[in-house]
Amino acid sequence: MGEKISRRDFIFSTLATGALFAAGGGASAVAGGKTSSKVPLKAKYALIIDTTICAGCGACRDACHQRNDLPEGMSYIRFCAQDEGQKCLPVQCQHCADAPCAAVCPANATYHTPQGVVLVNTKLCVGCRYCEVACPYQARRFNEEVGVVDKCWLCLDYVLSGDKPACVQACILGARIFGRQDDPDSKVSQLIDSGRAKPLHPEFGTDPAVVHYIIE
């Protein structure tokens, strides 16, 4: 018996390794195919935040905290300090068309609805927090009480019954404008089409589809 590996054994080992990879890929394709996350071309809704009006009072943040019954101090909305002119920038899930949180989730717990809203199936989430670190907007929150990661879900139950998300209702200054992006006559469509309302940091490449900002 020679001491170096024989050609036959080497070929066998490599093929066996390849077979294992193929089996893994095949099994996952079958399993993962059931919950595909087909991204719609356009989001049905738009949420525009006018930072020239926003005073940073935090009413939206508190309304979100209340609505979602979140632990102490937690909200899906946070305020980012700005240095050049703007007073404040409220940031939440942008509902990206190319959401990195959906791609990186090993359990396929994050998905898009037909309206382009990004949701979390908290029954699948294992709490690895990969999505939390992968979101360039840092919009996702780990809830220690239940061990899952969740985020702004656009109060889809209100929205689908014709009402507005809690944060929009809470804003007394009118800095939050909500409407149908698929209706060209709506206020949000006009603001977006005119170029006044824009996605935040489009260079991240995630294609924020719902949330837009008026910066000046």
Binding site: P106, R129, V133, A134, Q138, E203, F204
Partner: protein, 322 residues
């Protein structure tokens, strides 16, 4: 200025163990497949490398599971983690799940091969006579090839996991050179894995149990110094590349090189894991011999620095300022 607060020291340990186990396995596999293993009865490099690999990566994977939130309370969700192939973490779970059994099997066979009396005892206890005729050496070679593929994958995966967050943490996704689209971290973590693997199996082990190892394998110190030198270059490139990104990337570099993490970086990593081992090996080549103290010292330094490197990169990662 705010660093990411999601993954901390436990994740650093898990990434470190994955790299160490993968590197140790690769060193053992090379010694096995080149036939060097069989020039003597007892080869500490393959013995330590093969027996450490499975447990190291296995414990690392166990730590990953411990880090899960709902995954611990509802463990039936964990199989879902094997299904989503757009996620690097899914790839990692597959790679680890296949590597660990192969590594354990190879380690077991290497122990049996090294201690024939143990093999006789084990096969005596088992009812299936066919096991006594198992072609141990042939199986070992097959395990070494298969395991090496997964070991390489494991070493690269730890870096791909981090750079998979893309623009969310500029330090982790810094390219090999500004403007290139080749990420640097997977290469760095693989080189670090091999370096820590060599530190453990050669410096720490062979130096104690077989001091003549270094005399027999003249190229070992040179190979080791090349790995250390390469690691130094890659870390330098990482700092340069991340700094060139500006914003959060530059802030991370600042934190590492001159900020809060500078002691861990310059003392815990550069001095302990690069300068000292490199100098010790250079001296050994010049003096023509390797002393036990410097061999173990160098090995401990390299292994410790491997952990420090991962800890540094994790805790200095900063999301972009919005």
């Amino acid at each position: 200025m705010h660093v990411q607060e999601v993954w901390h020291w436990l994740a650093a340990i898990y990434l470190f163990l994955g790299g160490l186990g993968a590197g140790a396995f690769l060193v053992a596999a090379v010694v096995e497949l080149t036939g060097e293993r069989y020039k003597q009865e007892f080869c500490p490099i393959t013995l330590v490398g093969s027996t450490i690999a499975g447990p190291a990566v296995g414990i690392g994977a166990f730590l990953l599971v411990l880090e899960l939130g709902a995954g611990l309370r509802e463990p039936w969700r964990i199989p879902y983690m094997f299904t989503h192939f757009t996620s690097v973490m899914t790839w990692g779970i597959w790679i680890l799940s296949l590597f660990v059994p192969i590594a354990f099997a190879y380690g077991f066979l290497e122990v049996m091969d090294t201690y024939p009396k143990a093999w006789i005892w084990v096969t005596g206890k088992l009812r299936f006579k066919v096991l006594k005729r198992l072609p141990v050496r042939r199986l070992k070679r097959i395990m070494a090839v298969m395991g090496s593929v997964f070991a390489l994958a494991t070493g690269i995966y730890t870096g791909v996991l981090l750079c998979g967050v893309g623009p969310a943490i500029p330090l982790w996704s810094a390219p090999l050179w500004p403007g290139l689209s080749i990420p640097l971290l997977p290469i760095l973590f693989l080189v670090s894995a091999i370096s820590t693997g060599m530190g453990l199996t050669i410096d720490m082990t062979a130096t104690i149990s077989q001091p003549e190892t270094h005399r027999r394998f003249h190229s070992l110190p040179v190979i080791h110094m090349t790995a250390i030198g390469l690691e130094a270059i890659l870390v330098g490139l990482l700092l340069y590349s991340a700094n060139s990104l500006g914003g959060a990337g530059a802030m991370s570099v600042n934190l590492i090189a001159s900020g809060h993490m500078r002691t861990v970086f310059w003392i815990g990593f550069v001095a302990t894991g690069l300068v000292y081992p490199f100098a010790v090996h250079a001296y050994a080549i010049g003096a023509g011999k390797h002393s036990i103290a410097s061999g173990i010292g160098s090995g401990v330094g390299i292994v410790f620095a491997g952990l420090m490197l991962r800890y540094l990169i994790l805790t200095s990662g900063m999301p972009p300022v919005l």
